[in-house]
């Protein structure tokens, strides 16, 4: 990592840590912000966070390792999380999974070489009435068919961080 980038990361963490009052309760929100902006929580970030909250870096690591959405290693810009739980399974998640793998050229748990996409399984994401459902970063996509996969991925590629295509949820 470039020195300038480390400085930026440190400044961010210091500012966010201050906003959280420097207490232990601020840890998870802090980790979420680092993860969101930098796509991973590096050793360096863990050290700075530990210093800000006056705890040991091992404690930080232990918390990160507990939560599915916090990552120690670098992830793609877009994290696709396809629900594998029963109602989405019934709704046809296997074929959707296959098509995602085909179009991305990776398997579940992997990240594309260009660093754009990470493909992961999720447990029930609360869209069981509209499956198969998946999350891409914070957006939710419902009733996704294999045929739609290409469009969704293209919309991601065409956008800069924010997905142009709206996730959709019926009420």
């Amino acid at each position: 990592m470039l020195v300038t980038e480390q400085d930026r990361l440190r400044d961010d963490i210091l500012a966010w840590g201050d906003a959280g009052g420097g207490s232990r309760e601020a840890l998870i929100p802090l980790l979420q912000r680092v993860q969101q902006k930098y796509g991973e929580i590096s050793d360096f970030a863990m050290q700075v966070i530990a210093d800000v909250l006056s705890i040991h870096p091992v404690e930080v690591q232990s918390v990160i390792s507990f939560y599915h959405f916090l990552d120690l290693s670098a992830r793609g810009k877009f994290i696709i999380r396809l629900c594998r739980t029963i109602s989405c399974d019934i709704a046809g998640k296997d074929r959707l999974a296959r098509q995602l793998e085909n179009d991305l050229g990776i398997s579940f748990g992997e990240t594309t070489n260009d660093g754009m996409f990470t493909l992961e399984w999720a447990n029930c994401i609360g869209m069981c009435d509209q499956g198969p459902a998946m999350l891409i970063n914070e957006k939710v996509f419902t009733r996704v068919t294999p045929e739609l996969v290409h469009n969704v991925l293209q919309a991601c590629r065409a956008s800069f961080g924010n997905i142009g295509l709206e996730g959709k949820e019926e009420l």
Binding site: F66, M127, D129, G167
Partner: protein, 396 residues
């Protein structure tokens, strides 16, 4: 009482602010008496009487108390809380304010599962609006003695954090590992202070109970299960969605409403619940018969029950926090057993051992996750032994 399919929900017929005003007029003891009298039981799954919980927290003396709304909604097949938060968040927040006033708390936290973080923006907007309208902040509805504010905490993906003590650990910046109970959160909760943790739906009912009274609510439902309940219906069914019914309807009634008449079985209560086969569809959905936090997953005539239960066990293996042995090891063993069944290589003796293991897990696990994860397995052995044993059609 007409059912509603994601359309009008009864608690939403009470206009914003009306319930809160009625509550403040009743005073602290009046609120707790009304909630107790209504017979409202927690809608997060465990069904603990809400009035009793509030009374315990109110009675504990402390310099600070908290109200936490549990919006972790991780139980497979459950999505009613998402619909409530999407459409009626102001009622949930009012419920929190009322709880806060009743127990003497000035701060509320909404614990929103990470998967729902896309709801955050609108929820913050609603909170901001309620602040400008004088329902949140200092001097709630102009009352000098009432102040309350709410913040949102986003989860980071962990089903077990829906368990209330794990949720509190998570709020405190720790791994979401359940604590031993007692002490209960009403005595020693967030930051060691008395804390009421309630489900989204539980809180959403509070304003209407305040506005319409305990008698209205307790006149609905059954003797032991009062009021109306929201159900999340999914699976092999024509009209999936959120439905509202009084407690006590039969599974057969429900199947008619949702278009699941030819179902072979339903899973009531999500992955932690039990499988009810079609021959038992005259049973009633209520705390005293077939209890549920609201998840109803329907399985059509051709559904392979072994695959269903394997799917649930994979879920539990992935979500066990690993703190205690029966759950950490037990779920893995049950999943291995299911693989043997899938391959048609499980002896009767092995199956009996697996059932004994499941029963041990129900008894010896530390929290509700490990206590209920064997339920589905034990249900299929009981009801679908013929279907799952001696398989020759190997599925991979």
């Amino acid at each position: 009482m007409s059912p509603s399919h994601t359309g009008e929900l009864t608690f939403s017929t009470v206009k914003p602010r009306v319930g809160l005003q009625a509550a403040l007029d009743k005073g602290r003891a009046g609120i707790v008496a009304e909630v107790s009298g209504s017979g409202l039981k927690g809608r997060g799954g465990a069904g603990f009487p809400t009035g009793v919980k509030w009374n315990l927290a109110a009675a504990t003396v402390a310099d600070e108390k908290f109200v936490v709304c549990n919006a972790d909604e991780g139980e497979p097949g459950t999505f009613k809380d998402r619909v409530i938060l999407n459409r009626f968040a102001d009622l949930v927040f009012e419920g929190m304010i009322i709880a806060g006033y009743a127990i003497g708390a000035q701060k509320g936290i909404l614990y929103l599962r990470g998967e729902y973080s896309y709801l955050r923006k609108d929820l913050e907007k609603t909170l901001e609006r309620m602040r400008t309208e004088g329902m949140l902040g200092e001097r709630v509805l102009g009352r000098d003695d009432v102040s309350f504010d709410i913040e949102i905490f986003i989860g980071s993906g962990a089903y077990v954090c829906g368990e209330e003590t794990a949720l509190i650990e998570s709020l405190e910046g720790q791994r979401g590992e359940p604590r031993n109970r007692p002490p209960f959160p009403v005595n020693t909760g967030y930051k060691g202070r008395p804390t009421v943790v309630n489900n989204v739906e539980t809180l959403a009912w509070i304003p209407s109970i305040m506005a319409r009274g305990a008698d209205w609510f307790s006149s609905l439902g059954t003797d032991k299960s009062k009021g109306l309940k929201l159900f999340s219906v999914s699976g092999d069914v024509e009209r999936p969605g959120v439905y509202e019914f009084p407690w006590g309807l039969t599974i057969a009634d429900l199947m008619r409403e949702v278009g699941g008449e030819n179902a072979k079985a339903v899973q009531v209560g999500g992955a932690s619940g039990y499988i009810v086969p079609a021959r038992d569809f005259e049973r009633h959905i209520a705390f005293e018969d077939v209890p549920t936090g609201g998840a109803v997953i329907v399985f059509g005539p051709h559904r392979d029950m072994l695959q269903v239960v394997s799917n649930f066990m994979e879920f539990f293996v992935g979500e066990s926090c690993g703190q205690c042995t029966p759950c950490r090891e037990g779920n893995v063993k049950l999943l291995e057993g299911l693989r043997l069944l899938e391959e048609g290589r499980c002896s009767t003796r092995q199956m009996r051992e697996l059932c004994a293991l499941g029963e041990t897990m129900q008894q010896a696990s530390k929290c509700g996750l490990g206590q209920s994860s064997p339920n589905a397995f034990l249900s299929i052995v009981k009801h679908y032994g013929d279907e799952i044993m001696g398989r020759t059609d190997v599925i991979v």
